[in-house]
Amino acid sequence: MPLTAEQDRRRSWISLLAQSDAPTLAALWAESGLAADFHWLRAPETGGVMVQGRMGASGAAFNLGEMTVTRASLQLDDGTVGHAYVQGRDKTKAQIAAQVDALMQTGQAERAEAAILAPLRAAGVARRSARAARAAATKVDFFTMARGDV
């Protein structure tokens, strides 16, 4: 079933928060001045997720190994629910991610987008393009050698 536009946007910010660097996220949250009073629906919990691959990259699924993930769910005082599934074992990261997920569904969305998500997105783009540009510089240019007998 295709996602609604709203679900697609939510999917995108939850994914961004999941991959963020924990200290960066904590610093952005502290600087943002955003606040979200809440109670836990599920306090942060660290566990493993089994990562699957495919045989020959395209075939049947197999279990590759696990990765650490921390999840949390909370409810703001206005009733909005925020969820987080973030890479790693940082419980503060999961809490902030769930708070931002909740705030993004409220009137605070614009502020959270500007103060948290936009800088995270920019950092991700910068990180990826720095690697991609270095990789591109190691691409082999073949040239034909002139043979001695011609």
Partner: protein, 364 residues
């Protein structure tokens, strides 16, 4: 008679206190930070994650520090920690076709779409010690040269041969594979279980098995059709949301070999493949895994079993795990006083009996 003995508590405590001191080394030198291990010994970190079967670079760095650089001990620590983690779910199979490749090479197609991208490789270095690295306080190297990056995804080489019908296809199948961390191994194991087991198998063992196939034991000539290293997002369906989200990004090394196949009664001559996929940067391991995977597929492809070790699923899977192997190997150094006493008694008795016989013979 079995006599339980107890003792050595103080000796053990003191041994561990000394271990802590030795681990730290000379306190005149700065202690290693986890960030230093993670950033500067990243291939050791990757190996511990791959064979520990848990992707978490900070934990792997901690394990390496605690194990004083003994990687198998570090892998043991990670495996033990892994068992304490509740399983939060299973990801969707990662899409390595969407990988942001740091490195991508093919030994079969010079002009592969996406190009031959070397990445930060040891290949073509002269393997001469670089004494500049021995100097302390050397400034960090200047940023490496950059060029305009491609934005298109890097297609898999095998797909081209598959489009021509020259490569055995690997049809997608999302049936939940058996999991060796949940279900004890039984044989025949099947390819999914073999791949899970090989992905976390000891690199040295896997390399040795792969090398044995190259030297003719279960020979199957392999080309490295493609080797790629890079990052992929990991997606998981989250029930409370009702849709899948990315829960993180991991670095993987993938190798696909292209192997000849003569064909059989049911299949025309075509290429077949071996597949290797490991956490982190581990191309020696990924290539080895692909070769061993291909050797183990002899039955499915109707090839001869030449009796080679690399074709023996039970041999490969039951000896490739360095934690299982270490556990059994190292247990023989623990006290076996009672076992040995009984052996000692037996040998003495046999010698007495033999001696008595000799004396009797001499008397005759």
């Amino acid at each position: 008679m079995y006599v339980a003995v107890k003792g050595g508590e103080r000796a053990i405590e003191n041994a561990h206190a000394w271990l802590d001191e030795e681990r730290r080394g000379d306190p005149a030198f700065a202690a290693l930070s986890l960030a230093q291990i993670r950033e500067q010994l990243s291939l050791a970190v990757d190996r511990v994650m791959a064979e520990g079967s848990l992707y978490d670079p900070d934990l792997a760095a901690l394990a390496i520090k605690q194990a004083r650089g003994d990687l198998i001990e570090a892998i043991f620590l990670i495996r033990a920690y892994r068992t304490t983690l509740p399983r939060l779910g299973t990801s969707r199979p990662v899409d390595t076709g969407a990988m942001a490749c740091d490195r991508r090479i093919s030994a079969t197609y010079k002009d592969a779409p996406g190009g031959q991208v070397l990445g930060p490789t040891f290949d073509y270095t002269h393997r001469l010690l670089d004494f500049k690295l021995a100097a302390e306080g050397t400034p960090a190297p200047a940023p490496a040269p950059q060029a305009t990056a491609r934005t298109a995804p890097t297609p898999h080489i095998a797909a081209y041969l598959q489009d021509e019908g020259l490569m055995q296809s690997e049809p997608a199948d999302d049936t939940a594979p058996s999991d060796i961390t949940r279900t004890p191994m039984s044989y025949p194991a099947g390819r999914a279980v073999r791949l899970q087991s090989l992905a976390r198998a000891d690199e040295g063992f896997t390399l040795g098995m792969a090398y044995s196939t190259q030297r003719g034991y279960g020979y199957n000539h392999a080309f490295v059709g493609e080797l790629r290293i890079g990052r992929v997002p990991v997606e998981m369906d989250v029930p409370e949301l009702g849709f899948a989200v990315e829960i993180g990004e991991i670095e993987l090394t993938e190798c696909e070999t292209v192997n000849q196949f003569k064909g059989s009664r049911t299949s025309p001559p075509q290429f077949t493949r071996g597949y290797g996929l490991v956490f982190g940067k581990g191309e020696r391991k990924a290539i080895s895994m692909a070769l061993v995977d291909r050797a183990l597929r002899w039955e499915e492809l109707g090839e001869d079993n030449t009796g080679a070790a690399a074709q023996d699923e039970e041999f490969v899977l039951s000896h490739g795990d360095n934690i299982q192997a270490t556990g059994f190997l190292e247990h023989i150094k623990l006290p076996h006083y009672v076992d040995f006493q009984s052996e000692l008694e037996l040998v003495r008795k046999m010698r007495r009996d033999a001696g008595a016989g000799n004396t009797a013979e001499a008397a005759e």
